[in-house]
C-alpha cells in the first residue's frame, strides 16, 4: 500500500471518529431527534404484532456473509435487526425462526437469541435449534433452497431478510411472495436489491441497512453514527460535484 493511500485512509478514519464524538457530545434528547421516515423500518415494527395475532413465527435471516470477512458490517447490521426482533419476540412468546448462510453468523445469531432470552429472564426456554445453518457462504443457491424449504414448513407469518445476499434472493422472495407472506428485505448488494424490488415496497437499500439501530433503538450512539453517515454523504456528494465541475470546466 503506497504512502498516499495510507495517509488518506488515516485522515478519513480520524475525521470520521472526530465527527462521531462531536455529534455524540452535541446530542440532546434522542426522542427529539427527527428521522427521515423509511417504510422498511415502519413495517418492521408491525411484524411482531402480526406474529402475535396470527400465532405464527417470523422468519429472519441476516444473510450469508461471514463475520470474519469483508461483509462483516452488513452482517452486523442484520444481527442488530435480529436482536430487536429476538427481544420483542421473547417478550411476546413468539420465537422467530432464523436461518443463516454462514457458520460464524449461525454462532452470532445463536448468541443474539440467547441474549434476548436471558434479558427476558427466560433462559430455560432458549432453543439453539431455532437458528438454522443452511449452507456455506460459497453455495448461495443451496442456501436459497434451504431457506425456501424452511419458509414452507415452519408456519411463518413474515419473511425478513436483511444482510448480504446475491441474486439467489429471487428464489426465496418469490417463494415467500407465492405464500403471501409480508416481506421486509434489505441488502448491500445491488444485484440482490434488483430482484427484491418486484416483491415488496419495504426495502432497505444499501446504506439504510446500517441505520437499523438508530431507527429501532434510538440510542445516542446510534443517532450520532447516523448523523456521521449523513455528513460523510454530503462531503462525498460535494466532492463528486466539484470533481465533475473541474473536469467540465478545466478539462
Amino acid at each position: 500500500m503506497d504512502a498516499l493511500t495510507v495517509v488518506t485512509a488515516l485522515i478519513i478514519i480520524l475525521l470520521s471518529a472526530g465527527l462521531f464524538f462531536l455529534f455524540l457530545r452535541q446530542m440532546g434528547d434522542p426522542d427529539d431527534v427527527q428521522l427521515r421516515p423509511l417504510g422498511g423500518y415502519r413495517s418492521l415494527k408491525k411484524q411482531i404484532g402480526l406474529a402475535v395475532e396470527t400465532g405464527r413465527h417470523l422468519h429472519i435471516t441476516p444473510g450469508r456473509a461471514s463475520l470474519a470477512g469483508q461483509g462483516n458490517p452488513t452482517s452486523l447490521a442484520g444481527l442488530s435487526i435480529l436482536e430487536y426482533f429476538a427481544d420483542e419476540a421473547c417478550k411476546n412468546d413468539v420465537p422467530p425462526v432464523i436461518t443463516t448462510g454462514d457458520g460464524s453468523l449461525t454462532v452470532g445469531a445463536q448468541d443474539t437469541l440467547r441474549g434476548a432470552y436471558s434479558g427476558a429472564g427466560r433462559i430455560d426456554a432458549y432453543d439453539p435449534s431455532l437458528v438454522r445453518f443452511q449452507a456455506a457462504e460459497s453455495s448461495p443457491l443451496a442456501f436459497a433452497a434451504g431457506v425456501t424449504d424452511e419458509l414452507r414448513d415452519q408456519n411463518i407469518s413474515s419473511n425478513i431478510m436483511v444482510g448480504r445476499f446475491g441474486s439467489e434472493a429471487a428464489i426465496i422472495t418469490e417463494a415467500a411472495d407465492r405464500m403471501s407472506f409480508q416481506q421486509i428485505l434489505g441488502s448491500d448488494d445491488p444485484l440482490a436489491l434488483g430482484v427484491m424490488v418486484p416483491v415488496t415496497e419495504d426495502i432497505l437499500i444499501g446504506e439504510e441497512l446500517f441505520a437499523a439501530p438508530a431507527y429501532l433503538r434510538r440510542k445516542p450512539v446510534h443517532l450520532a453514527s447516523l448523523q456521521l453517515q449523513d455528513t460523510l454523504r454530503i462531503l462525498v456528494c460535494a466532492g463528486v460535484f466539484l470533481a465533475a465541475f473541474y473536469y467540465l470546466v478545466v478539462g
Binding site: A136, A142, P190
Partner: protein, 193 residues
C-alpha cells in the same frame, strides 16, 4: 471490551502500516470462521436428524448426501478413491446450481408480472419494460432488432444502471465506515449481548 478495541485498532493499523501483522490477525479470524463452519454443519446435522425421526424424506436425502461426501473426502485422503469429492461436485452440485441459476430470469419476469397485477404504477411498468429490454438485448435476434436492443440496453446500462450501482456502493461504504467507528470506539459491542 478493552481487549476487543485493542485488537480492532491493532488490526486496522497493522493492515495500513505493517501488513504482516494485519494479515496474521485476519488469518486468526479466518481460522475461527472455519471452526464456526464446523459448528454450522453440526447444527445442520442436528436439525435434519430430528426431522428424519419425524419422517421427513428430504432430510434423509440431505443426511445421506452429507455422509457420502464426508466418506468420499476420507477415502480421497487415504488414496482409496481419486478426486471423489471433485467428481461428485461436478456431476451433482454444479449442474443443480446451474439449473437453479437459469431459473432466476423466469423468477424475475414472473415477479415483475405479479408486481404489475398488485400495483399498477409507472415505476412497476418501468421495471418490467427495463427487464424486457435487457433480456432482449442479450437474446439472439435478427440483426436489425439485435442492434437496436443492444444499443438501447447499453445506454440503459451505462447511463442508468451503472451510476445507480455506484451510488448504492458509495452509500454502503459510508455505512460501513459509520459501523466500524462505532465498534472501534466501543460504542457498539456485538460481542457482548
Amino acid at each position: 471490551m478493552a481487549l476487543a478495541i485493542a485488537f480492532g485498532l491493532v488490526t486496522l493499523l497493522g493492515l495500513l502500516l505493517v501488513p504482516e501483522v494485519g494479515a496474521t490477525l485476519t488469518g486468526w479470524a479466518s481460522l475461527l470462521a472455519a471452526v464456526a463452519l464446523l459448528l454450522g454443519i453440526l447444527n445442520l446435522l442436528t436439525i435434519h436428524s430430528r426431522r428424519v425421526l419425524q419422517g421427513n424424506f428430504y432430510s434423509l436425502v440431505l443426511l445421506f448426501g452429507m455422509a457420502a461426501v464426508i466418506a468420499l473426502g476420507i477415502t480421497d485422503g487415504l488414496g482409496l478413491t481419486g478426486n471423489g469429492v471433485q467428481t461428485i461436485f461436478e456431476l451433482v452440485q454444479a449442474p443443480l446450481e446451474a439449473a437453479m441459476a437459469s431459473l432466476l430470469a423466469f423468477f424475475l419476469i414472473f415477479s415483475g408480472y405479479r408486481m404489475l397485477q398488485r400495483k399498477r404504477s409507472w415505476w412497476s411498468l418501468l421495471f418490467v419494460v427495463t427487464v424486457i429490454i435487457m433480456f432482449l438485448a442479450r437474446t439472439p435476434l435478427p440483426e436489425v432488432l439485435s442492434n437496436l436492443f443492444t444499443k438501447v440496453g447499453d445506454i440503459v446500462s451505462e447511463v442508468v444502471i451503472n451510476p445507480g450501482i455506484r451510488g448504492i456502493l458509495i452509500g454502503v461504504s459510508l455505512g460501513i465506515i459509520a459501523v466500524s467507528i462505532r465498534i472501534l470506539t466501543g460504542s457498539e459491542r456485538p460481542y457482548d449481548k
